[in-house]
Symmetry: C2
Subunit: 244 residues, 2 copies
C-alpha cells in the first residue's frame, strides 16, 4: 500500500512585517512547515535592490541557522538537479519577480521545482517567491526591469497570487490605478482566479488542505463576480479545484 | 535648401489631474503641439480598465472635437501604414503598458510610428503612451497582464519614462518597494537613464529642444549618481544626447 504524498507549499505575502525582524511573524508556521527539513535550499534569484546572490543568501541563512537548519544558495550548485537532490526544503525569497522568473526559466528551475514539490519537498516563498507558485506572474506588483522568456510560473496552486495586497486609499489624489483596478484589468484578458494576500498573511497548503493564516482576510477575485473577503478559518478548499 | 525637420513629441505623465477634466491641465500645450494637425489618429490599444477600442476612442474624440479636430481610432484602419498616412497628428492614450506594447509590436506600429515622427508627425502620449516614447517599457508601473513579444519601445527620446512618479510616503507601513527603490533596481540591470514625471508634468520636444512643463520638478536617475530634482525652466538638453 502506497502512502499518498501531499504537496507542502507555504505562500507568504511578505518576508517582513513592519517593525518586526525578518520572517519572525511567520516563525511558528515556518518551523512546522520545515520540521522534516534540516537542509534548506535558498533561491536568491529575485535579488531585492539588486544585491548579490551571496549577500541575499546570508540574510536567509542567518534566519534559518537560528532554527538549526543548514542553508545553501541555489547559485552555488552546478545545476538545478544537483541543488534539488541536496535539498530537504526550498525557500524562494522575494525581490523582483521578472528577475526571478527569467532566472528560474533559464536554469530549468521552473519545471524542476514543481516536480520536487509533487514528490514531497516542502516549498516556501515570500513575495516574488509567492508569485511564482501561481499559474502566471501576471499579477505581480513589480517593475519589468528584465524580459523573461515567459510569464508562466510553477502552478503549485491553480490560481494567481497578488502579494502585498493593498486596499484603495480613499484620501489619495494619485491618478495611478488602485490594486483592485489592476486585477480587474487582468481579468479583462485572463480567466485565472487571483488571491490578494495582505501583509502578514500566508496561504498554507499541507495535508488536510489549504488554509489562510494571519489576522487579516484575503481578497478573492474570480474574474466574474464582485471581489470578496475571505477570513482566516473559512473553508477555502474550492481554491484547489484544478478542474474548474 | 532643405528645411530641417524637428521631431515633435509631447510626453505627459497622465491624462487627468485630480479634480480636473480629461486632458484639461495640458490644453494650452496640446493646442500648440497639434496646431498644424486637423486629423488626429488616436491609438486606444492600452485599454484602461479593459474598455473597448471604440469606447476609449470616443473619450479622446470628445476632447479633440472640442478643439476642432477630427479623430479616428487606430483600430478602424486596415493597417498601420493606412492609419499613419491619414494622420496629421497621433495621440497614444494611457492604460496598461503591456497590452499597449504587445499590440504596437504585433501590428507593426512600434517601428512605423517613429518613422512618421522623424518625418514630422507630431506625437502625444499620456501615461502608457508616454512609456512607449522611451527606449524600453522597463520602467512602467503597470501590471504584466499580457506577454508582449519584447519590452523594447519607440525610442523617440534616448531615455526611459516613469510616469505618475510618486515620492516615498514616510508614514507608510507598507513593505512593498517605493518607486525610487524600483528604479534603483532597474539600474542594477540596465544603464538607460530614467525620468520620473510627476502628475501634471510633461516633457515637450519641439523646435528649440526639450523642456519640462508644469509646476513640479521631475526626478532624474542616471543610474550612477544620486537621483536629482530638475525644475521646469532648467536646461535639460543633455537628456537628448543620443551618443552617451
Amino acid at each position: 500500500m502506497t502512502k499518498a504524498i501531499f504537496p507542502r507549499v507555504l505562500i507568504a505575502s511578505t518576508s517582513t512585517v513592519h517593525g518586526r525582524p525578518y520572517l519572525e511573524y511567520a516563525s511558528d508556521i515556518i518551523i512546522e512547515h520545515f520540521a522534516s527539513a534540516s537542509k534548506i535550499l535558498f533561491v536568491p534569484f529575485a535579488r531585492p535592490g539588486g544585491i548579490s546572490h551571496d549577500e541575499y543568501t546570508s540574510i536567509a541563512a542567518d534566519y534559518f541557522i537560528g532554527l538549526g537548519k543548514e542553508v545553501r544558495g541555489a547559485h552555488t550548485f552546478e545545476n538545478c538537479q544537483d541543488a534539488i537532490s541536496w535539498a530537504e526544503g526550498i525557500f524562494v525569497g522575494g525581490g523582483n519577480t521578472f528577475v526571478l522568473v527569467k532566472e528560474l526559466h533559464e536554469g530549468g528551475w521552473m519545471t524542476a521545482i514543481p516536480k520536487a514539490v509533487d514528490a514531497g519537498l516542502p516549498y516556501m516563498g515570500t513575495s516574488a517567491g509567492s508569485n511564482v507558485t501561481g499559474m502566471t506572474m501576471c499579477t505581480t506588483n513589480d517593475m519589468p526591469i528584465v524580459y523573461p522568456p515567459s510569464f508562466k510560473t510553477m502552478g503549485l496552486v491553480p490560481f494567481n497570487i497578488n502579494p502585498h495586497y493593498l486596499d484603495p486609499d480613499p484620501s489619495s489624489k494619485h491618478m495611478g490605478e488602485t490594486r483592485e483596478t489592476r486585477i480587474k484589468e487582468f481579468h479583462a484578458f485572463n480567466t485565472t482566479r487571483v488571491v490578494g494576500l495582505r501583509e502578514g498573511s500566508c496561504l498554507w497548503l499541507k495535508e488536510g488542505g489549504l488554509r489562510l493564516t494571519g489576522e487579516l482576510p484575503m481578497r478573492f477575485f474570480d474574474g466574474q463576480s464582485a471581489p470578496r473577503e475571505i477570513a482566516p478559518g473559512e473553508d477555502i478548499h474550492f481554491l484547489m479545484d484544478w478542474a474548474r
